[in-house]
């Protein structure tokens, strides 16, 4: 991009060809001591996005690193029945405003997608950037019922939870959350334990780590001997993380290396963590593709039940049938297969006719593979 400001800020620092080139050389100088390709999992969908947006995956392959996309896509791992519950509400109740983030609305379910169902007269869907917009709508429209429908990991959980706290303090009677809150460390352990992978190390999500700090990942190095690095999201950040992981492999010294220190503190964000422990409790959670993982989810404590749409509306959130037979989103999320190996990929399942969340979410491995890889489907 030509604008001068962006040039000085981003180009010369975290995105430039020069910096990226140097980091690739550094990685190459380390992978030549290892059996290649070295398979590393990036857990976070935003990392997947960086890798594809800047065309880094082929460059990494050339220096002996193959990146596998993990389950870091909240839309991907939120089961259909959440969306179906909201669709039922918005098509049957007449004074609802359902607020949600953009790509939640496109997930296909047997009942359709939130974006394409027709709300009952008097209700509407509002796409927001911040959950606070939902809170504002509740204050401004006392005659309406506002539901914020949000899926997220630890990066997003504090912000959404904050709105419930505010609603509680302001005694709002027309605001609730339908939340699908997922925790990264238990999912990591479940993936490692599934014993079906050949992953040598991890790139940990930088902004999840902003909230939870460094310690929650230490079991990966200590208990399982796998290296990992906490990385940011510019191209140079991700490559720094990969460079660290291959160094840990080369030296056989697995650890949790924070290479995003300018933003991630070892103790995390104590304000956010305090808010979460005040308002939320751990629950077992059902991850699409990974199944039920004990204590891998969060929900509002019983004292805040009136702000939990699940309890407020008596929603039945029960596993149903799989969205489309042959859909292998679960295996893609586990890094077992690449999108191209799913029988539905590009033939039946395409961005304008997605069969599973991996083709819906902007960071879903399948959508990214479809959009960004040369010769993906022809």
């Amino acid at each position: 991009m030509i604008s001068k400001k962006s040039q000085t800020f981003a180009l010369n620092n975290w995105r430039s060809r020069e910096t990226v080139g140097k980091l690739l050389e550094l990685i190459a100088s380390r992978t030549r001591f290892l059996k290649t390709p070295v398979k590393i999992m990036e857990v976070c969908g935003t990392h997947t996005m960086t890798l594809h947006r800047f065309g880094l995956k082929p460059l990494l392959k050339q220096v002996g690193v193959e990146m596998i996309s993990g389950p870091g896509c909240p839309v991907c791992i939120t089961p259909d029945y959440f969306h179906e519950a909201i669709i039922d509400l918005i098509t049957s109740q007449s004074n609802l405003i359902v607020c949600t983030f953009g790509d939640m609305t496109r997930v296909p379910t047997p009942k359709g997608a939130l974006q394409t169902v027709v709300p009952k007269k008097g209700s509407k869907l509002q796409i927001v950037y911040s959950p606070e917009e939902a809170l504002e709508l509740a204050r401004e429209n006392p005659e309406k019922e506002i539901i914020f429908f949000g899926a997220g990991f630890e990066t997003t959980i504090p912000g959404i939870t904050f709105t419930a706290k505010k609603a509680f303090q302001e005694k709002l009677s027309n605001f609730s959350l339908l939340t699908a809150f997922w925790l990264i460390p238990p999912a990591l352990e479940a993936i490692i334990n599934s014993q079906e992978l050949a992953i040598s190390g991890f790139i940990y999500p930088g902004h999840v780590s902003v909230i939870i700090g460094e310690k929650p990942y230490s079991f990966v190095a200590q208990k399982y001997g796998l290296p990992g690095a906490i990385a940011g999201f510019e191209p140079a950040d991700v490559l720094l993380g990969i460079a660290s992981v291959v160094k840990q492999l080369k030296d056989n010294k697995p650890e949790v290396d924070n290479v995003y220190k300018r933003v991630v503190r070892p103790e995390g964000n104590t304000q956010a963590l305090t808010l979460m422990s005040e308002m939320l409790e751990e629950v077992d959670a059902d991850w699409r593709g990974l199944g039920v993982i004990p204590r891998s989810g969060l929900q509002l404590k019983p004292v805040y039940a009136q702000f939990d749409a699940r309890r407020r509306y008596g929603l039945k959130l029960l596993p149903g049938k799989i969205t489309a037979s042959g859909c292998r989103c679960g295996d893609v999320i586990k890094g077992l297969i690449s999108p191209q190996e799913c029988p539905l990929f590009a033939r039946v399942c395409q961005p304008d006719n997605p069969k599973g969340p991996c083709m819906v979410s902007y960071e879903g491995a399948c959508l990214i593979e479809y959009k960004y890889s040369s010769g993906a489907k022809r």
Partner: protein, 328 residues
Amino acid sequence: MKKVSLEMGSGGKLMRDFIAEKLLPTFSNSILNELHDSAFLPGDLAFTTDSYTVDPIFFPGGDIGTLCVNGTINDLVVSGARPEYLSLALIIEEGLEFELLEKILKSIKRTASLNSVRIVTGDTKVVPQGQGDKIFINTAGLGRILKKPRPEKIKPGDKLIVTGSIGEHGLAIMLARNDFRMFSGIKSDCAPLLFLLPLWEKGALWMRDITRGGLATVLSELTEKINYPLLVEEANIPMSSKLQGAVEILGIDPLYLACEGRALIVAPEDQAEHLLKIIKKHPLGKTAAIIGQVEDKIGKKGEALLRSISGGLRLLEPLTSELLPRIC
């Protein structure tokens, strides 16, 4: 029963499939099948039409009035024709304030006059409240062909020029609907492209105005007309830093944001710099740039490739669905 979805009108793949599978076969004839931005009629005439349903009808940088004239003018310009006449059909929702209607009519008059285009025929309908979103407008345009586009002459080495910074109309509209608590001051780039007409006689081979679907969609459309891949350098794409900030906050790919006053031009290799100079002399072309070229060393026929700032390559696909902000 299958129903028409909003996505079918979004300018993306679904719409193009609908046109290809339903409309073209139904109305097939030698003129229509050429599928240029305008139809080329006997007597050196170019003929085009467009309908305008933009919401909101007033937005930073313009309104539905400026849009409905510029949009149709631009379709003629990029087809190599000088716009001369417009028809104007108004479908107005009962209850629209007269003051607003007058503002729109003034915009139409002003924009048409500025571009020496006359509105010579029209129609007015009023629909009951609730059956039309304030106002819909259709304009059809007639122009005289100066020189027809020659995509068959495009070869490796020929350059791709964008006439100005991208994405501003799309973002202005998005933020006018919901500002997401953002203050960016971004205005629509809605503007007439008449200043590009002289380029046809100076060697320009092909042009398309960048509208819904953004630059990436137009590049994809170009690959369907030629036998070579395209290679675009991300670092060369003109974009305002305001826009870059906004799209990175919201998580939107700016290459898919609509413009309404920008064109992609294919210029022969040896004339590209000269054509660029001419464009940049005009106030509306100050941020124009050569963004890439027709390739024969990298990529395959039908591919539009982007080399990122970091040096890696990625494939540009046409827009498949509505752009939405994301948090991930």
